[in-house]
Symmetry: C2
Subunit: 182 residues, 2 copies
């Protein structure tokens, strides 16, 4: 709070008067950040079906590239907030969950668009794929913060893209939820 007061030039009393307290101020910031992230994802992943697949690939790659470019490991407030605070603060958990589920829905919609256009196997489970894509992106973020090289991060992203079930002679993803093996 002292740092924020110093950075904003406001007195600490004003901060408390305007926002009520530390946690409420944080939640305001966190909410704003979450909607910002969700909006950015939405604007990157919506559009005509013809480019849905390209948008998806670009999104995955951009995510990895963004992490790789963050050489200072500053990271993402959503990830950091969830990792650090979710354990003790259900409000943060709820907000992170809502945001990520919203993003998953956006990704799933884009995948469905790509399926309509014939780029992604229509037999694949769009929600499952969306969950996977989201996990990969959050995982790349986590790995990036752990100092993993940019090459490896981009390799993970590219491999994920390469494994997406394409149409036609592509492998059947029937039974993706429960493979027979094991």
């Amino acid at each position: 709070m002292d740092a924020i007061a110093a950075a904003t030039g406001l007195g600490k009393g004003s901060l408390y008067g305007a926002f009520g307290g530390k946690k409420q101020l944080f939640l305001r910031i966190f909410d704003s950040y979450c909607t910002g992230v969700a909006d950015a994802v939405a604007s990157g992943l919506t559009g005509p079906d013809e480019q849905a697949y390209v948008r998806l690939c670009a999104h995955i790659r951009a995510g990895a590239a963004g992490v790789a470019a963050d050489s200072r490991h500053r990271g993402c407030l959503l990830a950091k907030g969830a990792a650090e605070l979710s354990e003790h603060d259900p409000d943060v958990t709820a907000r992170s969950r809502r945001t990520l589920e919203g993003i998953a829905a956006i990704v799933a919609d884009d995948i469905r668009a790509a399926q309509r256009h014939g780029d992604i196997d229509p037999a694949a489970d769009a929600d499952g794929l969306a969950a996977l894509v989201l996990a990969v992106l959050r995982g790349v973020e986590a790995l990036g913060k752990a100092g993993i090289d940019a090459d490896r991060l981009e390799s993970a992203a590219d491999t994920a893209i390469a494994l997406l079930p394409r149409t036609g002679k592509a492998r059947v993803t029937e039974g993706a939820r429960r493979p027979s093996v094991l």
Copy 2:
């Protein structure tokens, strides 16, 4: 430090005398945790080539199940330490990186074993796949801490397994690093 002193029954002076300071004590704990995780992964992913693929699937599923079972969002010290401290402490970054790269190597070895046995497409890039698997697991961990339902976590893990390039009529992963699209 006060909490550790209380929990261990030791005086704070003893703690400082024995370990030197807060950061050094943390690094001792962090190192121990990291080697523990790496050992656990190694013991879960080594064995005869015939079961390499099964081990890999089990590992992925167990990772997701473990996160899903952690209803308190306590999480993993490696992930939390990297997320929280890596920004300001290069020692933590270095240790996280070493650990995760070690795990990636173990995963890659298991994938190569599965390739030798004919379960995974030998044309696939084992290191790229390992990076992807690692990203998925860390991503599932991150999503879990954000409160995402167990179903979705397991869906991501299962989808990842289902998309692994199998042998034979499975899709060719040639050019996995740089798909032609986009």
